[in-house]
């Protein structure tokens, strides 16, 4: 594939090299860039790559846990079990009573994660956008409102978990306000809502902040033109604000989604461990790890990892989340589209662009 574009500027290429330079202006830049980012890549290899490989290895092993019946001692070491750590949820399900009936513990936590992610992110997006719209207005005390909205985001999760734990206590503020005796901190569907409320309180400002940044890039003349055309506030919001803030909003929602999927400290600190209505995959993996079952803990973490990768992929594909935000990349993509269309029209093989600088559309 990489030789594809090489025919473009054949005249400039020394005849004795097999692999010819693609492009004069980018000469050496690739090597230099590679050299410059290599320290970062090395760090990523050590802190991300190798741990992932090690957990892949760990996930197909199992430590011995059964003591010898005569001496009571546990043999050392571990055995290779193939994919058993993954398939055991079907072969030996560990049924628990959660919000979804009596089902396997991993599936239960998987459903909890999905439920929390959908509900929390939906509510947070609505509230976050509303916050951004308020923060973007010019009014007296704007600085104070912005600071007030951002305070929850600045509080460490475990602290807000404890704080909300007090609020949701049987004798807590929430029950006083509602005038009810709801046992939020037991293990029931109220516990789920306690988590959702606390999570929304904490992270809606994050979406608000990123959306605000997007709002501030919208030029005011667009709104002026809309007003001249007689658009009302709702039309302006739906036709101008939302489309123009979408790139920023989609990235914010993507980050929140991925973050909510690995939620741990909020339910752990507020509701506690072993509560199946709020147990997430991270919590379950941590508990397994604590019971010295590193194999299953690694396996469950990988399940979560795969789930997050899948969701991120779908997000980027469907909503076109532009996480990198690189104009060059975007321009190349655009150009490739045009080239493809052109090549299709002329019925010839496509040579895709590598840069936007010199590879014009009519080179052949």
């Amino acid at each position: 594939m990489s030789q594809g574009a090489a025919t473009t500027i054949a005249g400039n290429t020394p005849p004795f090299t097999e692999k010819r330079k693609k492009n004069l202006l980018s000469d050496g830049q690739g090597t230099l860039a590679g050299f410059l980012i290599s320290p970062t890549m090395l760090v990523i290899l050590f802190v991300v790559g190798i741990p992932i490989l090690l957990s892949l290895r760990e996930s197909v092993f199992r430590k011995f846990t059964t003591p010898d019946p005569t001496t009571g001692m546990i043999p050392e070491g571990e055995s290779f079990v193939g994919l058993q750590n993954f398939t055991d949820i079907f072969a030996h399900p560990q049924a628990v009573d959660g919000a979804w009936g009596n089902i396997d513990r991993l599936i239960n936590s998987f459903l909890n994660v999905t439920f929390f992610t959908i509900i929390c992110v939906a509510i947070e997006t609505v509230i976050g956008v509303a916050m951004a719209l308020i923060m973007a207005r010019a009014f007296r005390g704007k600085g104070f409102v912005r600071a007030a909205i951002l305070v929850p985001w600045a509080i460490p999760t475990i602290v807000s978990a404890r704080m909300w734990g007090l609020i949701f206590d049987a004798d807590g503020v929430m029950n006083k306000i509602l005038g009810q005796q709801i046992l939020w901190l037991a293990d029931n569907s109220y516990s789920q809502w306690a988590v959702i409320i606390a999570d929304t309180w904490k992270t809606a400002p994050f979406i608000g902040l990123l959306t605000l940044a997007g709002l501030q890039t919208i030029p005011s003349d667009v709104y002026e033109a809309a007003r001249v055309d007689g658009a009302n506030a709702w039309q302006q919001f739906v036709r101008i604000t939302l489309p123009m803030v979408k790139p920023a909003l989609v990235v914010a929602v993507l980050f929140r989604t991925l973050d909510t999927m690995r939620m741990f400290d909020l339910p752990w600190g507020m509701i506690g461990q072993g509560k199946y209505y709020v147990e997430t995959i991270s919590m379950f993996a941590y508990i397994e790890n604590n019971q010295l079952r590193y194999g299953t803990a690694a396996a469950y973490s990988l399940v979560l990892f795969a789930y997050i990768v899948l969701v991120a992929f779908i997000f980027i594909r469907l909503l076109g989340a532009d996480v990198i935000g690189d104009e060059e990349t975007r321009a190349i993509t655009e150009q490739r589209k045009r080239q493809k269309a052109l090549a299709k029209a002329e019925n010839r093989k496509i040579k895709l662009a590598k840069t936007t600088i010199t590879s014009g559309e009519f080179q052949s």
Binding site: M1, S2, G49, L53, L54, L56, R57, V60, F61, F64, T65, T66, P67, D68, T71, G72, M73, I74, P75, E76, G77, E78, S79, F80, V96, D97, D169, A170, D171, Q181, L183, W184, L185, A186, D187, N188, G272, Q273, G274, K275, I287, N290, Q291, L292, K354
Partner: protein, 434 residues
């Protein structure tokens, strides 16, 4: 970034994953352990500096204790390593050292419920009975430091449950502290109608280790057992189910307030101090806090303690406390051995009681008149601990306790009947104790 490069990178990643898996598969080890903790071959005369690891020293007693030891043993200094205040984290730190065969923690303060797990994995040094006598120590505490008939640690401190009651209200009604559940209910029926907003009884019923302690007491006090002496689970017996049923019925009838299902030690202590409950099952630490006259407690001088009640007679408390053990990989085991004997001696046990309110492990101290004057609850606590029953001694204790909590909490929340819950628990325990 080109497609070709990405493809190559993906290929490289896949190849390296494959390589790791293959090498891993080849090195799959299954060597049975040459048990490091076996009694023989240990040099009990090797002396020198050692370390002592325990949770955070919140009461601040250890600086003084260690100074005394270090002044007397200049060549055998003991360094204190303070771990997290959280029990789970302490256990994780100790397990890490054990798995790495590191003797960094020469002497460790081990919760009674971790002792079996640590011993079975060979992380604790077995203590030969001829060198480490246990005379005079509480039998239940020594039993909690043993595994498979061998001693793996010395008891360090003990703990047992007490029943706190409102002596002012019971006296007014002309009642004595109850010794059975029925007597307790009768006392409540007599006292509560005149006390607005007061409930009868509470323990700790949030889903955590405290729930295991409470349900174990209910089951043992009703004549049942979680695990029999020969290590077989027996929770589906009629007696065990009767214990759980008492708790479930307590919630249903309102004897136990509904919100107690979210209470841990502190919440239940607060409720008792605020005058919301007549009887409270809790640990000895509540005594001093509830006696405070600075306004934090409304019941100062108005309460008393007795052993917890049972179904037909006095109840059976759950045994708490810590053991002090020597790492199997430690150097200078001679010093370590001397040190744990010194900690278990009467003089040090007295210091821990006076300065840290830790229950002693020597039986004689509970009858000491001077100490009883200082600690009004001491003789009652001695009685409680003498009858106390250890929680199930299991290598996979973490799984056992969460299975017990699952079953109990489901029954308390009304998701399952007590019989169904304990039948399910029986199956799980049979699997865990195989």
């Amino acid at each position: 970034m080109t497609h070709a490069r990405t493809t190559r990178r993906v290929l490289a990643a896949v190849a390296s994953v494959g390589a790791v898996l293959i090498t891993a598969a080849c090195s799959s080890s299954s060597t049975p352990s040459g048990s490091a903790a076996a009694g023989g071959g240990v040099n009990w005369d090797e002396r020198g500096p050692i370390t002592y690891a325990q949770g955070k020293d919140t009461a601040g007693v250890w600086a003084g204790v260690l100074k005394e030891w270090n002044d007397a043993h200049p060549n055998e200094q003991v360094t204190l390593i303070e771990l997290s205040p959280e029990a789970d984290q302490q256990r994780a730190d100790m397990i890490k050292r054990g798995q790495a065969k590191s003797g960094e923690f020469s002497v460790m303060s081990v919760d009674v419920v971790w002792t079996a797990e640590f011993a079975a994995n060979g992380w604790l040094q077995e203590l030969p009975k001829d060198k480490f006598p246990t005379d005079g120590m509480l039998a239940s505490a020594v039993d909690a430091a043993s595994y498979f008939g061998k001693l793996y640690a010395y008891p360090q401190s003990s703990d047992g449950a007490l029943l706190y009651y409102r002596s002012d209200l019971l006296d007014k009604a002309g009642l004595k502290p109850p010794t059975t559940w029925d007597e307790m209910q009768a006392a409540c029926d007599k006292v509560l109608p005149t006390q607005k907003g007061m409930s009868c009884y509470s323990g700790q019923f949030q889903k955590y280790e405290g729930l295991t302690c409470n349900v174990a007491e209910a089951v043992n006090s009703a004549g049942g057992e979680f695990i029999t002496a020969d290590g077989k689970p027996a929770v589906n017996s009629a007696e065990a189910v009767a214990g759980l049923t008492w708790m479930v019925d307590g919630f249903k009838s309102g004897m136990i307030p509904k919100e107690a299902i979210t209470w841990k030690e502190e919440e239940s202590r607060q409720a008792f101090q605020d005058g919301k409950i007549l009887f409270l099952r809790n640990w000895p630490y509540v005594y001093n806090l509830a006696s405070k006259t600075d306004g934090s407690s409304k019941v100062a001088g108005k309460f008393g303690v007795s052993p917890i009640p049972g179904k037909t007679g006095p109840g059976v408390s759950t045994l708490g406390g810590h053991n002090i053990g020597i790492s199997a990989f430690a150097k200078n085991k001679g010093t370590a051995g001397d040190f744990i004997k010194w900690i278990a001696s009467e003089a040090q046990q007295k210091t821990f009681l006076l300065k840290g309110s830790l229950a002693p492990i020597l039986e004689s101290m509970y009858a000491d008149a001077d100490l009883n004057k200082e600690f009004g609850y001491l003789s009652t606590l001695g009685e409680s601990i003498k009858n106390a029953q250890a929680r199930p001694k299991a290598v996979r204790y973490g799984d056992v306790t969460s299975a017990i909590q699952d079953a109990t909490y489901a029954a308390l929340q009304g998701q399952q009947t007590p019989t169904d819950a304990f039948n399910g628990l029986q199956t799980k325990l049979e699997d865990l104790l195989k």
